[in-house]
Amino acid sequence: MSSNRPITPSTLSVKDLPWQIIWDKDKCTLCGKCTAVCPVNAIELGVFRKRSIETSMGLESTPSNDFKIYYGIRQKTDPAYSCVGCAMCNLVCPNDAIIPAKSDEADKLRYHINQGGQPRRRGGRRGTPDSLLDMIKFIRISMLTDPALDAGRHEFELTTLLGRILSPEENLSFLNENGWIPPVREIYPLMIGGMSFGALSPNMWEGLQLGVSYLNEELSMPVRICTGEGGCPPRLLRSRFLKYVILQIASGYFGWDEIIHDIPDMKEDPCAIEIKYGQGAKPGDGGLLMWYKVNKLIAAIRGVPTGVNLPSPPTHQTQYSIEESVAKMIQSMSMAWGFRVPVYPKISATSTALAVLNNLTRNPYAAGLAIDGEDGGTGAAYNVSMNHMGHPIAGNIRDAYLNLVKTGMQNEIPLIAGGGIGKNGNLAANAAALIMLGASCVQIGKYIMQAAAGCLGSETDRCNICNIGLCPKGITSQDPRLYRRLDVDKVAQRVVDVFLSFDTELKKIVAPLGRSTSLPIGMSDALGINDYNAANRLGIKYVV
């Protein structure tokens, strides 16, 4: 741009963008792979004119100019094409000639990413790397008075329960009187949370399912996976692997026509039904599958036309009160499977979570409560929802657990915690901390995408373009040119790796605490934190 040309308010320089492409002319082979792979077309072939001045040493010859042309990479500055930092260019470059670098100061793009009045939407999760869960330490180490256990060689029983568990008194009396004993599943305490067929690519979905089936059938680890709201492929619905799957129903009811019609053909009951009322990443907001991703396959499974935005309403439209939303829906879903399948709601963490919980304690069909904290991930949401809406999971789970303790129902309604577990890679430590605060089970989504498929997204705003179907790793894309990059079997292998290593790490945490015969749910005396107020709030020890 010439210095005397007018500029628009949103005219930005490369410096104003969050990511600057560093390109090395000497190393570049001009192969063009980087420009081809860039998901947002942030870079293009550049033709550069360069003047070089030749000054001679002699008296007779005069200095001269030489104008030369060279080719290279140019970074676009249009907000619509700004670099997202995914670094796929770096991944494909044969000579390491190119890499995006994070700007050394806050970008100016953020003020311009609402062109046309459309606020920023993205995938990923809250843009803050902090994690209270990471601050929690396990301080009650068994020393001499009770020996620590050998994590490698001791026997451990670390499964958990999903389902409404009767009180001991009721259980014995129902056994005597042939009363209805609600279905209870013994499952692994780490489950893969709801990510829909649609939000995820077919290869990613299949890889996760395959990994989960392998863990169950070959390694006897009762790991469960939730479908998210997007239906379930009919072949899976009619297979024996359905028992490892939690079917999710949410406010858009996507895919449920197919599921209901398949009930007579199901060989196995699903593990459970999750009714989604809220999501931690965008509380009070419905699901959103943007039109880019609604191809023929997705449309068929969800029972919708292709190429349209699929926003689920923020609430279940047919219902208007907690009795309707929770009680009747839970009962209806239970009835659909002959009261053989646990049905539980999932809500966003919120300061009103206790009202929902108290309602569930009085509903004998409620099989648990999943609470998804503000650090949960999403495939698509408004940036403002992700960054500013929601409640942290630790305090919410602790309040819910202590509320159950007050009513003596801590064993009856399992709490499932989600949102930000393993945010900074500390999966087992975060999960164990939540379990000791009172969760019976934890759900992960983002972590498994990162660990099992190499998702590049981050809390410092790298990539995070899951919403537009251009996932450079093929995880959240419906474009076969992108998702064929993902090898289904390799994803499955990584899922197995993740769960096996988690299992070892969980044992490395509980064994020194002297625990092996049961999952240490609510063992809050084992926890400490070096933040006085957080310690008071959570009812754990303040340690310095």
Partner: protein
């Protein structure tokens, strides 16, 4: 780690029998305290089996408050054992005014009350006295129950026993449980001393219960006033026993299925698999995580020993018809019953509960993999 000893005998024995056994195991306790539970009493208490006996430690002032309190309800003293102690206590033993063992006549208005109601009221009175004592620091109450005496004090078991002159005929009993403490706290609270007692059930333990906090929360949340205290992590063992027996109607054979349920692998081949699976689920919050050896006494005078799943604590049972003993170590058993057939000694392992019924004919070993006597 504390040391435990319990004995059940057709003929009443002096508490010194248990103290002597603890004394030979003294390497395993630090002399920081001793607790004794006496049941199926001989001596003068033989003829007053139904009269509730109050056991505790009182100051002069506390005793006066006790008398006023009990008289107001209508309790009359039926028999009292006066323990006059020498002026200077042995090392570590604090100076106390009165060690009280007193049998009462029930108030006349209580005539005709059901047994259940009677038991409820006895518990409430004990808890009231405990609360009064904690307020003014003038009374510590261990038990208030028929045919039951409890004595607890800080100090070496042998020193305390000599000081309190426990070798007296009035204290002879057919069931004796005693624990020599290994102190793990700086200050010793007598309410943290084993054995623990609630409505006829008593247990003592060694080892540490790592699942204490969630279990305590669960017991407190049962809404039963007797589930309180918990100055020691081991008190939950007594309360779990009470809960499964008094509240769930389950027998001692089910105790281990609650505190250390079978793992799924073993459970699926069990004759009561379905029942036990249900129990494992609904009583999940009562699962202990040891390592603990538990010795206890039921209201019907059955004595038992159980180990946790890890079986990291010692425990042995042996004896002969008419007299059986449970001990942390074999040397304790040898001291108490040298003439038993040692080849029949048994060390309960991770699946076993060793039970000696009040008839004292044999040691019954109940393995968790055995069929459970149902209906329970």
């Amino acid at each position: 780690m504390c040391r435990l000893f319990a004995i059940t005998s057709d003929n009443p024995l002096s508490p010194m029998k248990a103290i002597e056994a603890l004394d030979v195991m003294r390497e395993g306790h630090d002399g920081s305290g001793v607790g004794i539970f006496l049941r199926d009493l001989g001596g003068p208490f033989e003829n007053m089996k139904d009269a509730p006996i109050l056991s505790g430690v009182f100051s002069e002032k506390g005793l006066r408050r006790l008398d006023t309190f009990m008289m107001e309800i209508g309790f009359m003293t039926k028999y009292k054992l006066s323990i006059k102690v020498p002026k200077t206590p042995p090392p570590w033993v604090p100076k106390r005014d009165i060690y009280l063992v007193r049998a009462y006549e029930y108030p006349e208005e209580w005539d005709g009350l059901s047994r259940k109601e009677l038991h409820e009221r006895l518990l409430i009175i004990r808890l009231q006295l405990r609360e009064m004592g904690e307020e003014k620091k003038d009374m510590i109450v261990f038990s208030f129950w028929p045919d039951t005496i409890m004595i607890k004090e800080i100090g070496s078991p042998m020193d305390v026993a000599n000081y309190l002159m426990l070798d007296r005929p009035e204290l002879e009993a057919r069931i004796i449980m005693a624990q020599g403490r290994q102190n793990t706290n700086y200050e010793i609270n007598l309410y943290a001393c084993h054995p623990f007692f609630i409505q006829g059930f008593s247990t003592m333990t060694n080892g540490e219960n790592t699942a204490f906090i969630p279990i305590r929360e669960y017991l407190i949340s049962r809404g039963f006033h007797g589930y309180m205290g918990y100055q020691s992590d081991s008190e939950v063992f007594t309360h779990i026993l009470h809960y499964i027996s008094a509240k769930l109607g389950l027998g001692i054979e089910a105790y281990k299925h609650i505190i250390t349920p079978l793992q799924n692998e073993d459970l699926k081949d069990h004759p009561n698999a379905f029942f036990l699976k249900q129990l494992k689920h609904s009583c999940r919050r009562l699962i202990i995580d040891g390592p603990n050896c538990i010795i206890g006494c039921l209201p019907n005078n059955t004595l038992f020993m159980a180990q946790d799943r890890k079986k990291l604590r010692p425990g042995v049972v042996g004896g002969k018809q008419g007299v059986f003993a449970f001990s942390s170590e074999i040397c304790g058993l040898d001291a108490a019953l040298p003439d038993r057939d040692k080849s029949k000694d048994f060390q309960p392992m991770h699946l076993d509960t060793a039970i000696v019924s009040p008839e004292r004919q044999e040691v019954k070993i109940c393995r968790q993999t055995d069929q459970l006597p149902l209906p329970l």
